[in-house]
Symmetry: C2
Subunit: 220 residues, 2 copies
Amino acid sequence: MNDLPENITVWLVEDNEIYRCGLSRAIESADGMFCPEAFADAESALSAVDTGMIPDVILLDVGLPGIDGLTALKRFAKIAPEIRIVLLTVFNDTDKIFKAVCAGANGYLLKTSSTDQVLNAVRQAAAGGAPMDPQVADRVLTLFNQLAEAKSPPPPDYGLSPREKQILEQMAQGLVNKEIADVLGISPHTVINHLRSIYTKLHVNTNTGAVAKAIREGLV
Amino acid sequence: MNDLPENITVWLVEDNEIYRCGLSRAIESADGMFCPEAFADAESALSAVDTGMIPDVILLDVGLPGIDGLTALKRFAKIAPEIRIVLLTVFNDTDKIFKAVCAGANGYLLKTSSTDQVLNAVRQAAAGGAPMDPQVADRVLTLFNQLAEAKSPPPPDYGLSPREKQILEQMAQGLVNKEIADVLGISPHTVINHLRSIYTKLHVNTNTGAVAKAIREGLV
DNA sequence: ATGACCATGACAAGTTCATGTCATTGCGAG
DNA sequence: CTCGCAATGACATGAACTTGTCATGGTCAT
C-alpha cells in the first residue's frame, strides 16, 4: 500500500455530463491525481480497459444507461482485478449495496458527498483502503451480521431427547439401524423405537425424510 | 437519524491515561458533544450502564485489561443495543475485525486517526452511520465476499446425470421410491436402477447416506 | 455405424425398515 | 408414593429398500 500515493490515475464513468465534468475538473486540480478519461457509459470504459489501459481507480456510477454499474463492476473486476473501483450512487438501498459488495466493490460513496470527500476517497482507494460512506458502512455491517448469523441459525426445537438426537446423527452419517445400535451399544429394537419417536416429532415417516429434515434444519 | 446531532453524549473506555485524557478533552472542546465519563476499564463502564446511564456513543478500546473490548462490546449490545459503539484499536488484524463486526460494532477506528477523524466518527456514529477506517473497511469487504461465497460453494461434481439428480432431489424430500416413480412418471424399477448409479457415484450404500451427502454438499 | 452412455423396464432373493403392541427399569415432579 | 416420561428391549407383519442380472431404445461422437 502506497503511503504517499502520487499521480493516481482516475477514470470516471458517469452519464450525467455536469457531474462528470465537475468531478473530472476537481480531480485534475487536486494534488497527486489526474483524470485522463471520463466516460459517459460503461461500454466505452470497458473497451478502453480491453485495449490495455488500466487506471488505478475508477469512480463508477451505479445508475448507468446500457450496461448498469453493477454489471460493469463485475466485468472490470474480471478483466483487471487490480483496479480499485469506487461506486457512486444516489441510492442508499440495502439490496443494491449487498449486490455491489458481492460484486467486489472497493468503496461506496453517495453522490451527496462533498468534493473533498470524493478526493479523499480516491486517495484511500488507491492506497488499498475502501472508502465507505458511514450510512453505507452501517448497512454493510448489518448485512454482515445477518450473513454471519444465517450461517448458524438456532435449530428449531422439536423436543427431541438427547438419545434421539444421537440416533438421528448416526442415521445422518449414513449408518443403518443395526450399525447405529452397535455404535451406541444398544439393541436394534431400541433404535427402531427411538426412530418412531423421531418420526413423530419431526412429522416425517421415512428415514430419508428424517435425515433431510435433520440436516437442513441444522439438527445435526 | 439526526441530521444535526447536538449534545451527543460520548463515553470513553480506554486504559491508556494519556490517550484517554487527550481524547476526552478533544470531545469536550468540540461542538455538539461532550464526554461526561471516561473509564479506564470495561467493568466500570458496564456497571455504569447497569445503573441506567446510557450514552449515545461509546469509544471502546479493544486492548483492555480485565474484560477485553470485544467481550465488553457484546455485553453493551445486550444491555443497551441503542448505544453506538465505535471500536478503537492499534491492531489491524483480520480476525479481530471479523469478531468485532460479528459482535455488533458500529464502527472501527485506528488509533492512528487524527482528532478530527475521531470527532467526525462520533458525529457519524450518533447519526446512525458506521465510521470505518478505510483500511478496516477493505478487510470487512473482503470478509464479506468470502462469507457470501462460502454460503454457496460450487457443489462437487460426481458425474450425476440430470435424471439422477431429479431422483436424488425427490428422495431428499422424503419421498419413497414408489412416490418418486409417480412424480417422475416412470417405473419404480427404473427409480431403483437410477439409485444404483447414484449410490455408486456418491460412494454410499444406503438411502440415508445418499440424502445426507446430497444435502450436505449442496447437490439439492 | 459401432461403441459409449443414458434412461427405461423387469425379476428374484435377501436385507432393512415401519408400525402396532407389549413390557421393564429408573428418575424426577407432584 | 404414584404418575409420567425417557430409555431400554422384544415379536410379528407387511412394506420398502439393495443387489445381481438382464434387456430395449435413444442419442452422440468417432
